[in-house]
């Protein structure tokens, strides 16, 4: 029996992997910024402090996405 190739993928599948790896951090970032905005609206006087905390969290989340990018470069 011959094997019939119906479709073929050319290029690197790790592109799809990076797309998947960006999903989680994307959701996390949305929650983070949304919550920070919400708390700022509730209590505008602590907005400076909240912003700092938000950026610290942003750094952590961003790293998750970038680890996917590094893995994509190494692949």
């Amino acid at each position: 029996m011959d094997i019939v190739t119906l479709a073929e993928v050319s290029g690197n599948i790790s592109v799809l992997g990076y797309g998947l790896a960006a999903l989680g951090p994307g959701i996390g970032m949305g929650i983070l910024v949304g919550k920070a905005l919400e708390s700022t609206a509730r209590q505008p006087e602590v907005s400076g402090r909240l912003q700092t905390m938000m950026f610290i969290g942003l750094g952590m989340i961003e790293l998750l996405g970038l680890l996917g990018f590094v893995a994509f470069m190494l692949a």
Partner: protein, 270 residues
């Protein structure tokens, strides 16, 4: 999609656009080849950027007036931003005072090095090879260990990090190794990778847009494709602006996380 493919077939004879690749980040050595002091393009950018930064800041400082001009107030605003919004915000004024010069140096150096990725002629962030972010991260690493040893003593700091108060003893078997890896490896590694990968990704993004612009507008010599070239050009400009924003954001995040790590070396406020 089909339109794109059709256009692609029209041009099948032509070579594709000159897309950026990882080899851009490992340029050939141009000076002192073969010695440990070999200089390639990125290192040259670093040296030039450092000299420019030093000269501009010294000239600004030596000509400082009581009533600041436009340039001086911009620089002062940035200096004040690092001191108040980064260091004092995280550490408090009393503890943060001794780290202000270090954090200011880090912020300005990283900012200028990142900005080189959009400066014509350089077109490559000086932080886009892993060594430079690693040096910055190791500086932070050394500082928070030194601060910990000075303020709490080595073992007391280690105990407070490995066994956070209120954790049940049984869970410590899990928590302590994780915390140890966090303190020793993950902190400097994450600082390094964040800065490095951001700059590499930014360069690839901008260079891809501009490579397609060149290909569609100039190389293709096809009036139909010029529209696509204009779109790519607009994209390239937008991403260039975005890169400038990222340059500042990364400098900010690097310094603020550095301050957080250093401030965790201090004993808890009673």
């Amino acid at each position: 999609m089909s339109g794109f493919q059709g256009a692609g077939m029209l041009l099948a004879a032509k070579a594709g656009p000159d897309l950026p690749a990882m080899k851009d980040f490992l340029p050939p050595q141009i000076l002192f080849q073969g010695t440990p002091f070999a200089i390639n393009r990125i290192i040259l950018i670093r040296i030039v950027a450092t000299i420019v930064l030093l000269v501009v800041m010294s000239v600004t400082a030596s000509r400082a007036k009581l009533i600041p001009g436009r340039w001086q107030s911009a620089v002062e605003w940035l200096l004040d931003f690092v001191r108040t919004n980064v260091v004092y915000q995280v550490m408090g004024e009393e503890r943060g005072k001794r780290f202000v010069p270090m954090m200011t140096t880090l912020f300005f150096t990283i900012f200028i090095f990142n900005l080189c990725s959009v400066i014509p002629g350089a077109n490559m962030a000086a932080t886009a090879s892993i060594t430079m972010p690693l040096v910055f991260a190791l500086w932070i690493f050394a500082q928070y260990w030194v601060a910990a040893c000075r303020e709490q003593g080595f073992f007391k700091y280690l105990r407070s990090e490995l066994a956070p108060a209120g954790v049940p003893p049984l869970l410590l078997i899990l928590i302590a190794p994780i915390q140890l890896i966090e303190v020793l490896l993950i902190r400097p590694f994450s600082l390094t990778v964040r800065l490095f990968a951001n700059m590499v990704a930014g360069h690839l993004l901008v260079a891809t847009c501009l490579a397609f612009t060149q290909y569609y507008l100039v190389d293709a010599q096809n009036a139909l494709l010029a529209g696509a070239g204009v779109l790519w050009f607009v994209g390239g400009m937008v991403f260039t602006l975005f890169e400038m924003f990222v340059a500042a954001l990364q400098a900010y995040i690097f310094t603020i996380l550095g301050s957080v790590y250093i401030s965790q070396s201090y004993p808890e406020l009673g």
